[in-house]
Amino acid sequence: MRLNLIRFAAMAIITLLSFGTAHASTLNDVKAAGHLKCGINTGLPGFAFTDDKGNWKGFDVAFCRALAAAVLGNADKVKYVNLTGKTRFPALASGEIDVLSRNTTWTFSRDVDLGFTFLGVSYYDGQGFIGRKSLGIKSAKELDGASVCIQTGTTTELNLADFFRSNKMKYEPVPIETNAEARAGYLAERCDVYTTDASGLAATKSTFKDAENHMVFPEIISKEPLGPVVRQGDDQWADIARWTLNALIVAEELGVTQANVNEKAKGTKNPEINRMLGKEGSMGKMLGLDATWAVRAIAAGGNYAEIFEKYLGTKTPLGLSRGLNALYKDGGILYAPPIR
């Protein structure tokens, strides 16, 4: 009930806000401002974090950089706005950011009801549980009566309720604001199990000193397609952002990398690469950009595979394998429409 009230209030505010802002062309606004306002997480390992110099890095950040490179010609022209689970949607609706790239799950109500446009899926995730082996259970379906550490304001919270209700089990939620606190709470035994997206669980488990005493339960209880989001009503801007994401995926498919993109932009025997990199056709012009938009987007941080391996892959402390996020021809479900 309380959740519904809060959600109603949030929606009312968002609706009000969107009246005020659904006018101008975001592309022109971004060009006039000279920088892209990109909403990112306040800190999530692998997806958004800072280096020693205070620069933002990560999988979500890489998309901001690619988009800024495509639109403004410079991947550094990004103003990062750090958003919590609660502030992300109002910030997008009010025009405080141009694009939201913050591990946001694409759901029906967010897409339809809140008036946003999801640009595609940049990471296929799913919610799982981690628990101590000493609990003596092998499956999440035996969790009746358990206390569960959970991040508030996320789809994880709702999935959890659904999972326990459909399996006729009871649980005691231990609500927590950030991932780091949830981890600390779990280690301090404030809860029996901790639930979040599988990528987060793997990252969390890798940091435990006694990782062998913990297990990730086999059940994945939800689909969590994460992707960047823009406001509804500016189709040109949505197209630019969507095809920047697609270009990164297509680039992996076609073997275009950060290292060879400038070489290939001079022209190749493959017409698809030529179209994407602006040698043939007029894809850039259709978007309202110049011909080499995709060249810059790929040069900013590499293609999808390069970005993934740099921030999330098996060589990073997170050690995530591609899994579902491999290309369709490599056994995953990553599949970008052709650039034609």
């Binding site: 306040t42 800072t50 706005v81 919590t84 502030t87």
Partner: protein, 370 residues
């Protein structure tokens, strides 16, 4: 009789002995405070036992067994604390994302803060006439230094962070909330109904709402009421909210002080022909504020700690920086306690200093006859 008199009479009357050795000095203090009666003795023994249990492991963890060098959490291999990040990250804990080539501007405004504070807090300093003027203009000077303009490179407030952000937001709130609180407290006791009702409504509404709600309003809803194209700086919005929140509490603290002043003081002030403002300024407020010092400092300390809520607008104060480091894949899971400990240490230093100063001020202004 004071001790001087005693020693004087010692010489005159050699028959009077000095107090027994075990009632004065350290031994006397220990006997009186730690071992006086069996309850005290028991408590002392238990306390020493708890300290003996807790301190050596803490010391081992934090210093003896700790790792101090390395470039990622993996290099922290001992069971102790991992301090290797200090080297690379301490600047971000202090300055946030402030451009490193301009760190001197933060440092300078911090250095200037010391004399400015000294001239406000302590009497009997040399050149105090100029010093007061300097202290009054300090907020403008430091704003200029921190934000830039007038020849300095402009730094936007989203680059503010770390402990410097706590200090900026906290000090601004402290400086502004006291006068606003005084005005509100006087307004609430005013005989003019309009002013009284406004003050009561302001205080009760602000006090009746959690600070975090006010901050959400500032961040999300204020945008609605501003004309299109106009946007108020996010940090300014948050500082305004923290200030008015603290002001409402401050008003009630000061009202408590005002109510403690006997009616005779008001009547006496009127009897010597002082008007409202002069009687307040010369007679009532000096006494009321003196009584309220513990409450005022209490509110200041609360306000200072509330500055950590700037995380809501995506700014990273020292606590935010701690959390940020915890999410860096290189350090993840290795530095949870260490970073929070550092942040806590900074807060403790500032809050404890405030509390000690208030005790000092109370003693200095103490005019009761003891």
């Amino acid at each position: 009789m004071t001790r001087d008199n005693n020693s004087h009479s010692d010489k005159a009357n050699p028959g009077i002995k000095p107090p027994p050795a075990n009632t004065v000095g350290i031994i006397g203090w220990i006997r009186k405070n730690l071992l006086g009666g069996w309850v005290n003795t028991l408590l002392t023994i238990i306390s020493i036992y708890i300290l003996w249990l807790a301190l050596p492991p803490l010391f081992d963890w934090a210093l003896l067994n700790a790792d101090f060098s390395g470039s990622s959490g993996k290099e922290c291999t001992t069971n102790g604390a991992c301090w290797a990040w200090l080297d690379q990250r301490i600047n971000q804990f202090f300055y946030g994302f402030y451009p490193p080539e301009s760190y001197w501007r933060v440092n300078l405004s911090l250095i200037l803060l010391l004399p400015a504070l000294a001239y406000i807090l302590f009497e009997n300093l040399p050149y105090s006439k100029y010093g007061r003027w300097f202290a009054l203009s300090y907020p403008i000077i430091s704003a200029l230094l921190l934000l830039g303009g007038a020849g300095l490179e402009v730094v936007t407030t989203d680059k503010f962070g770390g402990f410097m952000l706590n200090l900026v937001a906290g000090l601004a709130g402290i400086i502004l909330s006291l006068p606003i609180g005084i005005v509100l407290a006087l307004g609430r006791r005013s005989k003019l109904p309009l002013i009284r009702m406004f003050s009561i409504a302001f205080i009760e509404i602000i006090r009746g709402v959690p600070l975090i709600t006010l901050l959400f309003v500032a961040v999300i809803i204020v945008q609605l009421f501003l004309p299109p194209g106009v946007s108020l700086d996010q940090l300014v919005r948050v500082m305004i909210m923290i200030t008015i929140f603290a002001s409402a509490y401050m008003a009630e603290v000061i009202r408590g002080g005002l109510q403690a002043i006997p009616n005779g003081q008001y009547e006496a002030a009127q009897a010597v022909g002082l008007g409202y403002w002069r009687s307040m300024r010369l007679v009532i407020l000096p006494q009321a504020l003196k009584i309220s010092i513990p409450g005022i400092v209490n509110t200041f300390i609360g306000l200072f700690k509330d500055t950590t809520l700037v995380i809501i607008i995506g700014l990273f104060d020292i606590l935010g920086q701690a959390r940020l480091l915890q999410t860096n894949p290189d350090w993840m899971g290795k530095v949870d306690h260490e970073t929070f400990l550092l942040a806590a240490l900074f807060f403790f230093i500032i809050c404890f200093s405030m509390s000690r100063y208030s005790i000092n001020l109370e003693k200095r202004l103490d005019t009761t006859n003891k």
